[in-house]
Symmetry: C2
Subunit: 218 residues, 2 copies
């Protein structure tokens, strides 16, 4: 099945991306999904490894890596020799989860404590970005995510480095977003319970850059 | 096999926790593993779901949740009715990955850009925390992780809420840590390349608490 969703505001639901629990938190909005991927410095890729010695059943493996986006694909990269890249290149099915934590939700009742968050869950099999020009452009886009303008300033990958790095592209097609925001949702009978209730916002901040000691200033 | 590692400074290596790539970044030090779990507001649990309609192969699933620790077990909780809890209770094998991002590593060459991080990868099957007193103590410990002192102040779970919530405990036995820290590791021939090199520290910070608008001040 080919899904052309380039102009679609929402993705079609599948058995894997239908929101079952807390349905009001679910979304298939492409703009929201893209924004979460673009903001996140990290995602977690799950795949199944059935080749581990001594295991009686296929083992789930979850690896953290940097996600970035080019158009309507989510890209990851890794050492060409790594297990994750090899397994996914062999056609392994992946679940990529991207999570941003926005705050602790402190309720009056223990039960209604929660987390404000935005997350994306994406399923699929990747294609290998094999074309050299496309691969270079993809790696430049990763550099631009880390620091806008940096791709033009660094020493570009040589042929050996390009070969040692694999870039995989997942279609953002079978995916959903989920989010919670706002104050706690305590039960009516708890509203007078004498404890502070509200949200403690959390965010990732960049600190003062630390220059490589091996580099002279200037 | 029973592994008693209570007094052991390091965990035994298994085929799943042996550090294959970048071995100098790997560790099986229990103190480090505990510290990463204690600091992290989030972990990602991977498991295999072979019951999804329309899938030709078992699907990996990765779910974000809050990890906390009691002794040498990593605990998670969730709605008793959720797929994750049901699947893991049925004896499903899990891979729990806990990742803390400490900074962007900006190198002179594109290839040597990296991330400073600390992570834990833990494999295993959980036990259900069924005893009521143990379950209440475990949920109190979760509250204490979110805000020290809070468990005594909130309205405790009633019987119905306790039943609706499941707590699962994973032994911290088959686990490893991995970390990168410090400046970029550029090749000697790139050291004079004219671009700023160093580390941009990243951390999660708490902002000004936002009181629930439904709560009067005081």
């Amino acid at each position: 099945m080919t899904i052309d969703h380039t102009d679609a505001p929402t993705l079609p639901q599948t058995p894997r991306t239908r929101t079952v629990r807390l349905g009001d938190r679910g979304s298939h909005d492409v703009t929201l999904i893209h924004a979460i991927i673009d903001e996140a410095p990290i995602c977690h890729i799950g795949f199944v490894d059935d080749g581990i010695r001594g295991q009686d059943a296929p083992s789930p493996i979850v690896i953290p890596t940097i996600p970035w986006r080019v158009g309507d694909e989510l890209l990851i990269h890794g050492a060409s020799s790594s297990r994750m890249i090899r397994r996914l290149q062999e056609g392994g099915e992946a679940c990529i989860t991207v999570s941003l934590i926005d705050g602790w939700v402190l309720a009056r009742s223990a039960f209604h404590h929660s987390v404000n968050y935005r997350s994306v869950m994406l399923f699929g099999r990747p294609r290998l970005v094999a074309d050299e020009a496309e691969k270079r452009a993809a790696l430049d886009a990763l550099m631009e995510k880390i620091e806008p303008g940096r791709s033009a300033k660094v020493r570009a990958p040589n042929v050996q480095e390009l070969k040692a790095t694999s870039v995989l592209a997942f279609p953002i097609a079978e995916a959903s977003a989920k989010r919670r925001c706002g104050p706690p949702a305590d039960d009516a009978e708890d509203m007078a319970h004498p404890v502070w209730a509200g949200v403690v916002p959390l965010r990732i901040v960049a600190g003062e850059p630390v220059r490589d000691p091996a580099q002279a200033e200037g």
